[in-house]
Amino acid sequence: MEENEIVKLAQQGDKEAFSVLVRNYQNKVFGLAINIVRNHETADDLAQEIFIKAYQALPRFRFQSEFSTWLYQIAINHIRDYLRKHKKEKNDLRLDEIPEISAEGKEASEQLADSQEEEQRKKLLREKLEEMPEKYRLILSMRDIQGLSYEEISRMLKLSAGTVDSRLHRARRLLRKKLAQALGQEGGKR
């Protein structure tokens, strides 16, 4: 069955049809959320809420775009709202949190030290990403972390390619500046 037919059935209240759509898109929607909020439970909650919003808004879907584009727009808007509401909060339990290694451990193995250094850099990068304004954080996550295409980002954020370009540039510039400051280096040449 074509996706549009499934969507039409779901619009008529067919929950089985809607669950087909959910199964088709749950990983992508969850992937969007987790790569921005970086917490499994929060991302799962967000993904659930996104599908609930989509279900409620489904009667207003007019097939003027792909269903996937429409769904991702709902997802991005919902994640953006979440980021705005939880600006100052920090997730205490992270999926990829690295436990501290003792000083003795560092000396014990150079290899371990290298990997720890890399993890420290990643941790710093995550922290600095979280400090970014929400619009920069979103676009960096979509492009540099998740590797979404320009076209996908343009459609999801409803921005022109030129605006995606300039926003990405500003976001990268700010991130580099923040990292340079944190590393105690010269804060960029300009």
Partner: protein, 166 residues
């Protein structure tokens, strides 16, 4: 200026969005500008590090089942959500109506009335009678004498009428 342009192009280069001319210009600039070359290397490193942050994970188990259960328990559409939607639509409509009303009231304002000369004088806090008096004083002496003559005749007529009555 060139370095600022170079930085923008470095960002575009990371996304493989440079044209041949821009690419050649940037390459040439990076050869001669160590600061921008360092910047390009920093940005490339940042992009690599960011890509390593990608989390490949699946939602918690029974995602769709949990979702369907939630959908069954959720009210179809909350009244407050409908009210909120109505408000959101009502605000621009209200603003347009207010603008139109103000415009109509402005257009329907009565035209400014032409003031008479006396009103103008009153408006300027001057006495309009003063002007009349001045006009009267300006009258020719012969007119004044005629007026006096008529006034005298009137007095005589009233005197004679008084005598006749007696």
């Amino acid at each position: 200026m060139n370095c600022r342009k170079a930085e923008k192009l470095i960002s575009k280069q990371l996304d493989s969005r440079l044209g041949a001319r821009e690419s050649a210009w940037l390459e040439d600039h990076l050869k001669h500008c160590p600061a921008c070359a360092r910047l390009a290397s920093d940005y490339q490193q940042l992009k690599t590090m960011a890509a390593e942050l990608k989390v490949e994970a699946e939602p918690l188990p029974y995602f769709s089942e949990r979702l369907l259960a939630r959908l069954s328990s959720e009210p179809k559409a909350s009244i407050w959500a409908a009210v909120e939607r109505l408000y959101a639509r009502a605000i621009p409509v209200f603003l347009i109506m207010v603008t139109l009303l103000v415009g109509v009231l402005f257009l329907m304002q009565p035209a400014e009335q032409q003031l008479s000369q006396s009103e103008m004088l009153l408006f300027q806090n001057q006495n309009p009678l003063k002007e009349m008096q001045a006009l009267f004083e300006e009258e020719r002496p012969e007119n004044r004498q005629l007026k006096l003559l008529f006034a005298g005749l009137e007095n005589m007529e009233s005197y004679q009428r008084g005598n006749n009555e007696r």
